[in-house]
Amino acid sequence: MNTPSDRALDRLRDVAQWPDLSGTRYELVGEVARGGMGVVYRARDRELERDVALKVIGAFAADEDTVARLRREARILARLEHPGIVPVHDVGVLPDGRVYYAMKLVSGKRLDELLAEGLPLRERLRLLLRVCEPVAFAHAHGVIHRDLKPENVMVGPFGEVLVMDWGVAKHVGEARGPLAASASAGAAPHATAHGTIVGTPAYMAPEQARGEVERVDARSDVYALGAILYFMLTGRAPGRGAASPDATTRTWAASRHAPAAAGIVAPRELDPDLPRPLEAICLEALALEPERRYPGAAELAADVSRFLEGERVLAFPESLLGRARRFASRHRTLLLVLLAYVVMRVVLLLVARV
């Protein structure tokens, strides 16, 4: 063979990048995923006889910043012990000089793939609550994720939800909210240079997109969670500024949140059947100014829980009639049984009088 075919060339590119695991306890099984910072491989841990995931720095991305980021990610993950955050087993340097860390191998589907299969609204919202749990836990420990999006959430075969890819996460101190921002400077000198934009544009808070590092805090994650909720409700990312308001597109400008979430097409424009309180929750999380968002993932989750329980949500001043309607639609069977019972009693009463 002189010149490799297309398939052979792709294979050669892959195998030339495979990590050198000689002399380690791991044996390479195959590639799982590829990201900006590194490649995740499935490997067999010969000592413990189990498969693990190895995140290995990109073959030619071994500059100091990237190495520091991978190590920092491993340390952050090791500190955040939560069922919704993948546990780290080991960190080290391979014989070929690449830094790696070993973590639990997660099976299941990415959230975006799962949502594409079509889930009932309440199930989607319960998934969001499960995403909020580890994020709220991280916020309580002074860590912000900064790259939350459906592609970074894995849903396991038993419904377990794991928030992945903490590669651009940042430690902002123990405090949360505005206090956290002031604590962030210097906390992780190699984390990201001041003004460097990290994250995924469609899910990125405006202050993060503008590179205003000192303003990025837990509420930036709230924005991303709001964007995930938006995706769950409409099937697309909010993409601020991507939509051009015209005669057929009512933006949120007509609502009480006009200055807050302007530029995002209101979810009910895309699906008029969506409940107004849910739309309000979504847009409050997506508010332009961090001060107008929920202060953290826990507060956002609490409001979504209120909606699921049929209670009044903080983001929407729902009338009593509106709540009654929502309650009625949710408990239609129970109400019909009660109504039938009352009618029967009335009829029996009337019959007894006759």
């Binding site: 297309d6 050198d20 990109g58 990237t66 070929d96 990290v198």
Partner: protein, 240 residues
Amino acid sequence: MAFPETHRSLVLAVRSADAAERERALETVVAAYWRPVYRHVRGRFRVSAEEAEDLAQGFFAAALEKGWLARYEPARGRFRSYLLACLQAFVANQRRDGRRLKRGGGLTHVPLETRDADGETRELQLADKSDLEADFQREWARGLFALAVRALRERCRGTSREVAFALFERYDLEGQDAAEPPRYADLAEEFGVPVTQVTNHLHWARRELRKAVLETLREITASEEEYRAEARALFGGEPR
């Protein structure tokens, strides 16, 4: 993965005073770039396969004769870009003058492989500049890996590692074009070695291939900066 420290560039060695070094440098550069140049000529100038072969051969002959390769200055950009600029000027001149070059020009002719019917179809589908650039990049990578595989084969020839190369060739090269890649167990039986040895041999060969690719890449780039940039383009992994 650490980058090797030293840089031995054959791109720069084409102007060496040592005739043997110069010849080896030219041979490697032509081997790496012949196919990308040929396909670029076909795609960009919409010429027949035969005319593209003539133009590619003529281009390298002229490049050697007129010292274009030796005049390359690394500070002014990538060697690949320089070569493309030279090529475009050369073909434009040829077509303007209405000349067709005779094959040869003192170069070793590199035959085109005709086994890949898909490749031929793809050539005709190169619609715009980005398609052409992507194709050039891919063919460049193909040439690079072909050289690296050749170097690995030479390294293994006549040593106890011959079986490692043979397994690598069967599994990672030929096996990819088969309907189903061979199983390790089948290879173990075919080569008369335990399955664990198949795994070990393949690991060794892949590790050596990586070294050979990097060494070859070093040779066909002119500067440390270009080498790193090309490595990232080849393997991805650009830091965010």
